[in-house]
């Protein structure tokens, strides 16, 4: 049952991701991406990472996808189907990516990991504790980066008079 669910989610994630990179209509790409991210949230839930699954839905689908759709609508005319959306390197990129995928698969297949018998489920309480004790410095740096990105976005996006 669990396995069937995993294959279902994995297949849908790959399919939606493929749609997101190949669809001709850029607005459809954003919607495919939202579905792919939702599938990845399902993968997080299967890995018992509840908090991360919720964050994925909130931040990615609620925030970033909305931003993408705004950007697509602000740069009008680009969701026109008559405009070519891919460059001339499609064939060579497909070959290169397939080779990369084969190497990655071989690497995964040939390496062995010291997997412990019991699962390591990390609860929400532990995440909060860990964020504010062991990883408090990177946590604060993240807020600095977000502030910098916000200020930078306003400065770059401002219309100069």
């Amino acid at each position: 049952m669990n396995e069937l669910f995993f294959y279902f989610i994995a297949l849908s994630a790959c399919g939606f991701a493929f749609g997101a990179v190949t669809s001709r209509n850029i607005f459809h790409c954003a919607v495919w991406l939202a579905m792919a991210l939702l599938s990845v949230a399902g993968i997080y839930l299967m890995l018992d990472a509840l908090f991360l699954g919720v964050i994925q839905v909130l931040v990615y689908i609620g925030g970033i996808i909305t931003l993408f759709i705004f950007a697509i609508k602000l740069t009008a005319r680009i969701d026109d189907r008559s405009i070519r959306q891919t460059n001339e390197q499609v064939l060579i990129s497909a070959i290169a990516v397939s080779i990369l995928l084969i190497f990655l698969m071989l690497g995964i297949k040939l390496s062995s990991w010291a997997v412990f018998a019991q699962d390591h489920i990390f609860s929400l309480k532990q995440i909060g504790k860990s964020l504010l004790t062991t990883y408090v410095l990177p946590f604060e740096f993240i807020s600095l980066i977000l502030l910098a990105a916000m200020v930078g976005a306003i400065v770059i996006g401002k219309v100069k008079k």
Binding site: A13, A17, F68, Q85, L104, I108, V115, I145
Partner: protein
């Protein structure tokens, strides 16, 4: 039983789809969409390692959280850059972005 390898294979496939998108898209927003896919593939790996190998203090999940935050910041700046370039040139196809070239 689903093993660690299953998740790593899924992550590898998603990563390769993302790389394919980055290489072939003409549209700058399409490239940003592909980058989000790549970051998600990396995140799946991190969480799977956390679950199966048990990193200290939940390093895998915490790191994945940081990746989400950085991805949000990155895509905000990227999209604003796209809009600023569009405002100047009425075009967001990367093969026409040569204003930094001389």
């Amino acid at each position: 039983m689903i093993s660690l390898n299953h998740y790593m294979f899924l992550s590898a496939i998603l990563f390769c789809i993302g790389v394919f998108g980055v290489l072939t898209r003409r549209n700058a927003i399409g490239i940003l969409i592909s980058i989000e896919l790549i970051l998600n593939a990396a995140n799946i790996n991190l969480v799977a390692f956390q679950r199966y190998l048990g990193t200290p203090d939940g390093l895998g999940q915490i790191f994945a959280l940081f990746v989400v935050a950085i991805a949000a910041a990155g895509s905000v700046v990227g999209l604003v850059l796209v809009i600023a370039i569009y405002r100047n040139g009425k075009n967001i196809f990367v093969d026409n972005f040569n204003l930094m070239k001389w």
